[in-house]
Symmetry: C2
Subunit: 281 residues, 2 copies
């Protein structure tokens, strides 16, 4: 599998790349943004994955979060994948809604037609892309962290829960705490996976924890003025699940902050330092 | 004149606003992005203007430069205007080119029809918008700095040169050093001002300096890998003009950096600290 450079720009002494590559999982070309810090000139460095939210591509985090400054200081590779397959023949929400189909892969392997052919973001993020990163980038795959925003916060936590030991640090910004219990999640999981809610549990942070999955700890920032807080995100469910399971959760309710990248930009430094500590940086 | 809030988001303890207001200069509604730092809760704070480049709106700098973090630390209001009038009836480049008309106001008061009716970005930025800022924002108008990128770097330097004493700090990222001597400038100034090149000199940093305008000092960052360096930007012309006039110019050629916001994001902290020092912060 080869990585084609779409663009590259010097940034804080390192390089911000956008790559394109063929994906066997999604059956499409996929884009991924990768920041390589200056320290990578001298050897492999730890990797932090950032999974984005609804409507995003690989670009949003890359241009809006200001994460490269901190990654350059700490010596972290940042990998920001796209949020769904795209391109000719890839089906989209029949009504063109923002919360299903393109830009809304929900980090699942779809089992329902017509989604099951391309919508394999779980396997893409869990298996295919890590192999590509390990082969082509100066990445120390023994030192990985994962974080994300909203739908991507759900992705980060569920992927970490399903792959014990892979990620030494896990955090999230305003994650969808329980897709089983919110309109975004119910629409996505019923569409991609069908009506059997038992099949959804693999894609629900709270259900995975109830079913025995564990993390060594978890940092979550949540804007208290986030318009999706009560209806979709429901951090209290994650708080209860972690408390019941004895998972140390640091849940910070940030007064006045909304769901935007201005919120992420404000707290990304805290998150990357949290990751760096756990990655032995 | 009233300011309507289009959006507001908490960011680094302050607030990122986007405002809309009627402009008598352009005859259109105009948008402007304003970051108000936490220090403004306790009184007026200095202002730094950021003028954007071709194709930009008030949004690019606001979401891509990561400037709020530093402005919040230093206590600076950041004002990022749009780059042209927009809306129904505003003429655009007949061929839809990116370098004239919408998104390309070049910070001039056009004298040629049909541009002269709306394209009055000089008077908008020099007179109308400062009055609005002074009236509605916690801005210490006795302590202002100005900077910008590319076309906006040209705007920042020429506006500072034409308004001696108004700006205590002036800097630019990859400015168009001399519109009289590059294709972007010749197209814009001939279109907006007509063929008499004598009328262009008010909109050319080097010509203004030759004609006697002065700055106390000037910081310019220029990416050495910027694709527009030789053909459009020509920092050597500004360097020569400043040397001849005895203006202390700090021109930093940044190895490997291009014309993108990754370049601006990397060096915005240096610029805001340069401004803060001169604004008595």
């Amino acid at each position: 599998m080869s990585l084609e450079v779409v663009s590259q720009s010097r940034c804080f002494g390192g390089t911000q790349f956008v790559y394109r590559h063929a994906s066997t999982e999604t059956g499409t070309p996929m884009r991924v943004a990768v920041y390589v810090p200056p320290q990578a000139e001298h050897g492999k460095v730890p990797v932090v994955w950032f999974l984005s939210g609804l409507t995003c591509t690989e670009e949003n985090f890359t241009v809006k979060a200001g994460a490269q400054r901190v990654a350059a200081e700490l010596g972290l590779i940042l990998v920001a994948p796209d949020t769904s397959p795209r391109g000719e023949g890839v089906p989209d929400d029949p009504g063109g809604a923002y919360d299903f189909g393109l830009g809304a892969g929900f980090y699942v392997d779809a089992t329902e037609a017509p989604w099951s052919k391309n919508y394999r973001m779980r396997s893409y993020i869990e298996r295919e892309l890590p192999a590509i990163v390990a082969e082509h980038l100066p990445a120390d795959m023994g030192r990985q962290g994962i974080t994300g925003h909203s739908m991507g916060g759900h992705g980060a936590i569920t992927i970490a829960l399903r792959n014990p030991g892979r990620f030494k640090a896990v955090s999230a910004f305003a994650p969808i705490a329980s897709p089983l219990n919110c309109p975004w999640g119910e629409k996505a999981l019923s569409g991609y996976l069908g009506p059997d809610r038992a099949a959804w549990r693999d894609y629900d942070s709270c259900a995975l924890i109830e079913d025995g999955a564990r993390l060594s700890d978890l940092l979550v920032d949540q804007g208290a003025a986030d318009g999706f807080l009560e209806s979709q995100l429901k951090p209290g469910l994650l708080e209860a699940a972690c408390a019941e399971a004895g998972i140390p959760l640091t849940l910070r309710r940030q007064e006045g902050y909304d769901h935007s990248y201005f919120f992420i930009a404000t707290f990304i430094e805290d998150h990357l330092r949290w990751h760096a500590e756990r990655l032995g940086v």
